[in-house]
Amino acid sequence: MAPRILIVDDEPNIVISLEYLMKREGFEATAVADGDAALRALAGEPADLVILDLMLPKVNGFDVCRRIRADPRWGKVRILMLTAKGRETDVARGMRLGADAYVTKPFATRDLVAQVRKLVGAP
């Protein structure tokens, strides 16, 4: 069964590129545009990996991350933070909140795909 990827970003064009990249790798990808929708989507069908933007409308990425980690149902969900906020403090804060990886925009597609594969345990 293909790993399920949930893409959370409010930039439509970035979402398009991420969906394309994930599908090309053979993963199952769905996308939502805000934090609220992300939590709803996870509650419906848990994903293996969440690609999470930080500057999101409604519930921001840090809060989404915290709530995923606080809920035992989502204990196996991996989180990859993908954001334009590249300051070291942001990275540290993300990792502290329980992110598994942190990739800054703009990203190299090859690096991103490698990170995702590693996190979902794909060969």
Binding site: I14, S17, G86, P106, T109
Partner: protein, 920 residues
Amino acid sequence: MLQGWVIVTVSFAYLGVLFAIAYTGDQRAEAGRSIIANPYTYALSLAVYCTTWTFYGSVGRAASSGVGFLPVYLGPTLAVALWWYVLRKIIRISKAFRITSIADFVASRYGKSQLLGGLVTVIAVLGVIPYISLQLKAVSSSYTILRHYPQIVMPAKAEALPFVQDTALYIALILAAFTILFGTRHLDATERHEGLVAAIAFESVVKLLAFLAVGAYVTFGVYRGFGDIFQRAQELPPLRALTTVSGGGYGTWAFLTVLSMLSVMFLPRQFQISVVENVDENHLHKAIWLFPLYLLLINVFVLPVALGGLMLFSGAGVDADTFVLTVPMAQRKEGLALFAFIGGLSAGTGMVIVETIALSTMVCNDLVMPVLLRLDRLRVGQRGDVSRLLLAIRRLAIAGILLLGYVYFRVAGEAYALVAIGLISFAAVAQFAPAILGGIYWKGATRAGAIAGLSAGFAVWAYTLLLPSFAKSGWMPTGFLTAGPFGIALLRPQELFGLSGLDDISHALLWSLLANGGAYVGVSLIGAPSVAETTQAALFVDVFRHTHATGPSRIWRGTAPVGDLLPLVGRFIGPERAREAFLAHARRRGAERLEDLPADADLVHFAETQLAGAIGGASARVLVHSLVQEEPPGIAEVMDILDEASQVRAYSRELEQKSRELEAATAELRAANAQLQQLDRLKDDFMSTVTHELRTPLTSIRSFSEILLAEPGIAPAERERFLGIIVKEAERLTRLINQTLEMAKIESGSAEWRTSELAVDQVIQEAVEATGQLFREKEVALSLACSAPHPRARADRDRLIQVLINLLSNAVKFCAPRDGRVEVRLREVDDLLRIDVQDNGPGVRPGDQETIFQRFRQAADTVDGTSRGTGLGLAISRRIIEHFGGRLWVESEVGKGATFSFVLPREAPAPGATAAEAGR
């Protein structure tokens, strides 16, 4: 055996001894070996307070009211307790300013006012004259009685005798001559009289010994001790009452105590002895207990003598005022009687000498000198030595005052007992209390207040005490006493405003001090003190702060050379003495010779102080003023002086000021630091936001570029779509960079503005044309309504178009395709041009209506996906409109579209503008 010539000879011998002591005292003082520079002499000289009133009158008072004689001595005993605070301050002030009299003191305190000095002098002279007449009465009575020894004959009524046979007249003349010899012997008329003080201390000893001798004789010679006398008195009912305080007498006791508390400080002779003649203020230490001890000693035998006399002369018609003399006479003790007479003479002469010297100084310095100076009779710049004139004035004043005392004695003296006469004087000098005590503790007291208070108090005193004393002597009709003036009962002098139940002294004291204090405080509070008053007030009230520091008033800025000042001072205090004083001053200032003294304000001040010692502060000021032609001090200088005078205060104020400044600087620094940090954070935020905004389109561009690069075989439709995204995001990136730069320029003020007068309707037309394509693509309807006849404003054309394009593209962006409608309106509102851009899109929520104008802040969910804004358009637009003096805002209701509006100041139509436009 005691013939008249014996009495007269002994009297003159006694006066001769006094004179010898005074002479020796002066000689020793000149040689610099003062015999009065010790606290015992000072304390004894203070006993000039005890006059014939004490010597004869206390026994008289005790014979009629028992212990009622005591308040007059309790008052001083209580007052002495306050001397270390009150009298020491007065002494310090008087030394600093060389005050010559109580009038000089009051005048100096209230801005060296000649008027006030004169007023105090008049009150003092008129008030004290009854007191002097009392001495004349006592001395002449005692002489008359003693002359009839061994018979005891009461003196006849004075009116019964023609003037030439009246002993009192001769006594007045003799005392005048003697006082003139005593007090005005010197050609140098300085304020202190060492010899006189020595003589007064001596006479205090004589009168005390005389009284103690008589008292001891009566108590232990005639009777067998105190117990015997009091026991015998107890057996006689009329006498028993005298040993207790009779009912209702306490009020009178209180009033008399207060009255004598004030008198012991403000009687001119007490002021002279305790303040002017004081050598060292530390003498007060011993005087504070020695003087009350003296009072106690001189009162110990008063009751025994009174009771003994009453028992001895029971019903014999002997005036109790004479018991001190008549009891020894009745016992045939001629030596003792003569000693008692000398004691009384001593008490009387001591008082008369000091009182008239003090008064004559006041009359000369504060009454006559001001008038002479005003009339310029002294020819300040021309005449020679005036010290002789000064002495002549004083001598005349002494004679005049004593003759006035005699006149009062003839007019009113017979109607009153000794004590009653004295109390009238006490009540008069009590009027000085508010002006003096207020003056040394209250800086707000003014000259006008002092004049008002003194005048009011004196008027009430004259009305309630002096006039009744004339009336009771039959010299005036008594009708106004019993029925009131013009029959108005409320104005009866001895029951003013219906106040009855008090004796006449208490009654007068109450009303006069009420009027005095009320007027003093009231008028002081209403008016503002002048510059000179403020200076003097500060110098007097704060005397302990600045004496020993900067010296007295430096209010004068004028200068004069030694050559001018020395002769002036010399003419008043004698050329030799003046020269010595100036030399001493020169040495103190480090100059070898007089000629080396700098002609500065300090020298002028020195000269003034020297003169003040001779003729009083107010007159000295006028004199030096006429010579120096100084500039009158301005407020700023007075403030300087005050600062200098109270340096301690100034320093502490400066310190406070400095620390306040430091605190302020620290606070400023902290605020600046906080602002810097804030700016830094803002810049940080800005950078972070800008980078974030730049990274977003870059992410898409890079992503799709890499995808396209990695997959050459990608489906053509997909390829097309991705390339389209890359182009759009590249455009967005460009726009973002441009707008960020634009924003930065506007904010830093380095933007270039090409402002000119524009036809706004044409600018709108251009913007509409530029955005036409957007509207056509989305099939959104655009309508234009212009109702402004003269739509002209000053603005930068390109930037105004930029604003309009921003608003129009926003409007079309949020409108639904096909159903969307955008309306642009232009109209005039007063002197403004108003442009509205209204759409029928989803609207802006109230919470977002301000945030959308902030940088990089877009309304939360208004994004349609394809054409995101930069988040800078509205922020820049608002700044542009504000730059032109206008305003940009939004009005919206969710679901009912939004209206973005801005106003610009409208240009007034220039003449010919219409024609120019028409020609276009």
